[in-house]
Amino acid sequence: MTQIIKVQNLIQVYPDGTKAVDGISFDVKEGEFFGFLGPNGAGKSTTIKVLTTLLRKSSGNAQVAGYDLDQSPKEIRKVIGVLSQETIVDVDLTGRENLRLQGRLEQMHGSTLENRVKELLTMVQLEEFADKPAGRYSGGMKKRLDLASALIHKPKLLFLDEPTTGLDPQSRGTIWDYLDQLNRDEGITIFLTTQYLEEADRLCRQLAIIDHGKIIAKGSPSELKQAIGHDSITLSFKNPKDPALRSETKRVLQGVPGVADVTDSDVGIVVHAKNANEIIADIVTALDRNNMRPTSLNMSSPTLDDVFLHHTGRRIRPEELGRKTTEAFLM
């Protein structure tokens, strides 16, 4: 498969001297669902602005859809769709008018455009409200309309800047389903930025974790998680203070094939293993054979948050929900 985005040593310095993007390199394959995961201010939006031709890069090389960013911005604009972090719909225009305007600006005409507008209104389930001013739409509806307008010209590459920030859980789920579908069924390459671990985990097949303008880790979500360590199984017992029982239990656990390490913790004993799922039954059988009865058993795998913590020493703290959507005011 070909690379639809190629970025080498991209640097973006703002006029005030802030280095928002500090020498990042990455590739995105055609058909990929690629994510940039990182906290606020990590440089995610800046990267999108540069790759979508809104901002001129300070230095580095970048190609989008085979075109050089500096040399052929107009060619790039023709084949990309962009959903900004702020929901941008004209509240005075109806949903249909919003889509029609977007289509015209994408140089679409006549019945091709009208048919596409209808198709998209159906897809985002807004046919019923198509001729009502978008100002009366809920936040989730506006976001769906905005997504539809990013798709009007059937882009082969879709950029999404924090597409679900500020949305309620239900609207978020709906957007996730659309994105999944667009990538899987229509083969649209998706580049998404997010500060939500769950979103990155659920949607993206390839991830780059970004912090302070630098990419600190790359890979699929499971690769990233596996790279930082093993799964863990935490066992608690009735008499946790009993040292003899404790060391005896540890000895038994160490004998189970597949166990990498056994350590103590405040709540009991922790078993480390590459793949906890595969050995959980063996552990229970081994304990049972020795008449050891755990009072609780807890299995956990590293999360993307652990991955971020591992690389930066900090946790990602997503901004609280309910951020206001910006709307186009009357002229």
């Binding site: 979508t52 604009r77 015209r104 600006l105 002229m331």
Partner: protein, 254 residues
């Protein structure tokens, strides 16, 4: 041609917004309408300073038209601020559409609003007893002159809007300029009643030039030199304001 298609698209959008919010059109007209009604009634006696056949309503109406044009342009500057801050402009810039269409679509909309507003003022003045002696040809030239001036003036507020990205600043700058410029010009009051310093200011005031040429087109007797000077002044203004607008606009687009 894509430029024309894009201008049309953005014009349709802006015009639809105006139709959906007609109040805005009338809010802008309020001051000019109030001044026209009040001054033409309260200051009727100013006619005596306007020569034997002088009529203050005839004198005042062109000035009110100039006022209408300058206050109407506030809207243009504020609209571009809204489009900048709402992200609408970025959304347009992300499409392969023509960059120039963003400004030209805006100006096309301004022109239509300007013509509609001026027509309302002229209509009211006609009801109050105004006579346009130059007929339809003169009326058309009045619109052309006002449109030309309106665009040159819009350029100023567009530049301020693009630079500051604040609607309040656009209206503050506009108001700060409009009233001093308007009162110390030949727009509303005969310069013959003003003190010498005010007459000097008025002589250099672009609003005087536009008022004088419009007045000549209403009451007849317009000299070529008045016409030529006015158009030269407006042209110079347009070059300056659009130079500033383009300079600011280039910082916004990539």
């Amino acid at each position: 041609m894509t430029l024309f298609y894009d201008i049309q698209s953005l014009f349709i959008r802006a015009f639809t917004k105006i139709i959906r919010n007609p109040t805005l059109l009338f809010v802008n007209l309020f001051t000019p309408l109030l001044f026209l009604l009040l001054f033409s009634q309260l200051l009727q006696k100013l006619s005596v300073f306007l020569g034997p056949s002088g009529n203050y309503l005839t004198y005042l109406t062109p000035g009110i038209l100039v006022l209408t044009v300058v206050t109407g342009a506030f809207q243009s500057g504020m609209a571009i601020v809204n489009d900048l801050n709402s992200g609408f402009l970025s959304k347009v810039l992300l499409t392969p559409s023509s960059r120039a269409a963003i400004l030209l679509g805006r100006l096309a909309t301004d022109l239509l609003v300007l013509i509609m507003q001026s027509a309302i003022i002229i209509g009211l003045a006609l009801l109050l007893g105004l006579r346009i002696v130059t007929g339809v040809g003169g009326l058309l030239l009045i619109f052309v002159t006002l449109a030309f001036f309106g665009l040159a003036w819009s350029g100023l507020l567009l530049a301020v809007g693009l630079k500051t990205r604040k609607a309040e600043t656009v209206s503050a700058v506009g108001n700060l300029l409009v009233f001093p410029l308007l009162f110390v010009s030949s727009a509303l009051f005969p310069v013959s009643i003003m003190p010498a310093w005010a007459r000097t200011v008025s002589d250099y005031n672009p609003l005087s030039y536009v008022s004088n040429v419009t007045r000549g087109l209403v009451q007849g007797g317009l000299s070529w030199s008045t016409f030529g000077y006015a158009y030269a002044v407006i042209g110079l203004m347009a070059i300056l304001t659009f130079g500033a607008t383009l300079y600011q606009f280039r910082k916004v687009v990539t």
